[in-house]
């Protein structure tokens, strides 16, 4: 009996030592995740929990944008479409048909995924800036359509009185944080898999990828669908948390927010956009607490983004990572910056 319980524990310890503690950036991510999980034990402040919940939801949204924009290079300016479709899909089913949120959130995310697939099809013919500018159009077209059917969509005011997922705030906290960690880990895994490699290659040179016998159409659509699935899930979680869904979830500002969070944090890394959200969103919230600053918070937000970019044009997360780690010149594996030789191939690092 005992053998069966000890071995997984030992394996877990091995995993932690060899996979997480080996690199400072991963240790940081581990400490961050642990901190989020333990936070309700130290503080029950509903406002703090609310900020972390919303940060988690937006982190899912920004990370899903990164899969599409950072990895496959299809820089979407209309990512709010998927957030809004997920939110509206879930909220409408819940409000008009009375289905339980647990089901409608999944359906909402699924609807967003279909939307992502459909938007991806015309975008196959476009690349670069054309694609960005064209994607900007889709959420606005949907907003126009929603305004013409106010009895169903609630028009400009949206729908309020959507049922919450759970009653307690701490409960929702764990759902949001758990969902964020799970989705971001999954996205990161996808990014580091074969699929992620192909998406990287498509961004760099699509013709070369096609010449290597890879069906780029399938991978570009896959990136769109998966990314929309993530964003739709975030939108549905958001709708059931604040219990209102309105056209503000489709606004240009929210689409641009994803771009800002993603690039500020560092693209094509998944943890970058998450870091971007967890730095910038609580910052703006904190400023709205101070009365003298609250009016200036968007202004300060924009100035902070500009100044940070001047010093870290690659984004915050890659900048921190490059300070802590060094890449082995021979085998390209990352090492702690203090090491003299690579921990895999023992080549001198400098």
């Amino acid at each position: 009996m005992r053998r069966y319980t000890v071995v997984p524990a030992r394996r877990l310890g091995f995993l932690v030592r060899k996979e997480i503690l080996v690199l400072p950036s991963r240790t940081l991510v581990g400490v961050f995740s642990l901190g989020l999980i333990l936070l309700p034990w130290f503080s029950n402040d509903p406002y703090l929990l609310r900020v972390v919940i919303l940060s988690s939801i937006f982190a899912i949204y920004a990370a899903s944008w990164d899969l599409l924009a950072g990895y496959s290079g299809q820089v979407s300016f209309g990512h709010a479409l998927f957030f809004g479709v997920g939110g509206y899909g879930s909220a409408l089913l819940n409000y008009h048909l009375g289905w339980t949120p647990w089901l409608t959130i999944v359906i909402g995310a699924g609807v967003a995924m279909v939307a992502g697939f459909l938007v991806g099809i015309p975008c196959l013919r476009l690349r670069g800036s054309y694609l960005s500018l064209a994607t900007l159009a889709f959420p606005l077209i949907l907003t126009g359509l929603l305004f013409t059917i106010p009895e169903l969509s609630g028009g400009e005011l949206g729908i309020s009185g959507i049922r919450p997922l759970v009653r307690s705030r701490v409960g929702y906290y764990y759902i949001a944080v758990g969902a964020m960690l799970a989705v971001c880990f999954a996205l990161w895994k996808i990014g580091n898999s074969n699929t992620g490699l192909i998406l990287h290659a498509i961004r760099e040179d699509e013709v070369a990828v096609r010449a290597s016998g890879i069906n780029t159409v399938r991978y570009r659509l896959l990136a769109f669908s998966l990314s929309a699935l993530g964003a739709g899930f975030a939108g549905a979680l958001f709708a059931h948390f604040i219990r209102v869904i309105g056209p503000s979830t489709l606004e240009v500002a929210l689409s641009f927010q994803a771009v800002i969070w993603g690039i500020f944090g560092g693209v094509a890394s998944i943890y970058g956009p998450v870091a971007g959200v967890f730095v910038l969103y609580p910052l703006t919230e904190a400023m709205s607490l101070v009365r003298e600053l609250s009016e200036y918070r968007l202004l300060i937000f924009a100035i902070v983004v500009l100044l940070v970019l001047l010093f870290m044009p690659e984004g915050v997360a890659p900048w921190v990572r490059d300070k802590l780690e060094i890449r082995c010149p021979r085998c390209k594996v990352r090492n702690v910056v203090t090491r003299a030789t690579c921990h895999i191939c023992e080549a001198p690092l400098r």
């Binding site: 900007l136 159009a137 013409t148 968007l298 202004l299 924009a302 983004v305 500009l306 970019l309 001047l310």
Partner: protein
């Protein structure tokens, strides 16, 4: 109704053309998708408002001052914010978004969020072929026409214009031929902001100004530019009038048209993109090297 459609479409189309050409120029020469472009338009409209109503200058002087100030502002922004991160495409993108936000928030703090109307500079209307056109609209059309022609002359009949077109066509070769591509880029930014400023100053008396007025023309301009083909001046001009008239027709003829205004013009853009991915007159850019 018909004359309303004709005149409003022409005025809107002209203003969109001014904005879209500037946007297109920056993209063509410096490969910058300048989200803050309509921000310059807004700043210029506000400056004109201030100079006219608070400093009590006459229209002509305020117009020149507003345009000059915005052009200067654009060069300062370019030098301080854009040029240091030019190597990083993504950073440039959010730098322009942040600039737009800074304009919006600064104006919101200085002038407050409410709508402010400018008095019409010229009262009265004139009858042209049975269509009543107000002098203000006529003035707008005249300014738009003059500026568009001047831009065309600049681009096609001066050495600077030649340099701009050459850089837009192939940056590396232009550089090898001895053109200072950095200076060309800076001058293009200035010209493009000047066009946006003219557009802002010219429409300010026709509309009400508010700190969020840059967003809706931004969307339209992006639609126009993609429709006409990124980097193509002719395309931007024709695209602007197509979108201008499409918007006006939707507002006047469809019952819930005001809501659908944006949706219709953007749908036109998407359909054109499906049929011709490089836009109506787009230069199919070679893969960047």
């Amino acid at each position: 109704m018909l004359q309303d459609i004709l005149v409003t479409g022409l005025v809107n189309g002209g203003v969109y053309a001014l904005l879209a050409i500037g946007f297109s120029l920056i993209f063509g020469v410096a490969r910058i998708v300048n989200i803050a472009h309509t921000g310059f338009y807004m700043v210029s409209a506000y400056l004109l408002y201030t100079l006219l109503n608070l400093a009590r200058l006459n229209f002509f002087l305020s117009f020149l001052l507003a345009v000059a100030a915005v052009t200067l502002l654009s060069v300062i922004c370019y030098k301080l914010v854009i040029e240091p991160v030019r190597q990083h495409e993504a950073a440039v993108l959010i730098a322009t978004i942040a600039l737009g936000l800074i304009f919006q928030e600064s104006l919101l703090r200085i002038f407050g969020g409410h709508f402010r109307g400018n008095p019409a500079i010229l009262e009265g209307a004139v009858e042209i072929a049975g269509v009543s056109v107000s002098y203000q609209q006529l003035l707008t059309l005249a300014v738009v026409a003059v500026v568009l022609i001047a831009t065309w002359l600049l681009l096609h009949h001066t050495r600077l214009g030649l340099a701009i077109r050459a850089t837009a066509n192939d940056l590396e070769v232009a550089n090898l031929m001895g053109m200072n591509v950095h200076r060309v880029a800076m001058l293009t930014v200035a010209i493009s902001a000047m066009l946006a400023a003219v557009a802002g100053a010219v429409v300010a008396p026709l509309i009400v100004v508010d700190p969020f007025m840059w967003l809706s023309p931004l969307i339209t301009v992006l639609a126009v530019v993609v429709l006409g083909g990124l980097g193509s001046i002719k395309g931007s001009m024709i695209g602007a009038f197509i979108i201008g008239y499409a918007e006006v027709l939707t507002v006047f003829l469809v019952p819930t048209g005001a809501f659908l205004k944006g949706a219709v013009s953007l749908s036109i853009m998407v359909i054109v993109l499906l049929l011709r991915p490089e836009g109506l007159f787009g230069v199919a850019f070679e893969e960047e090297r």
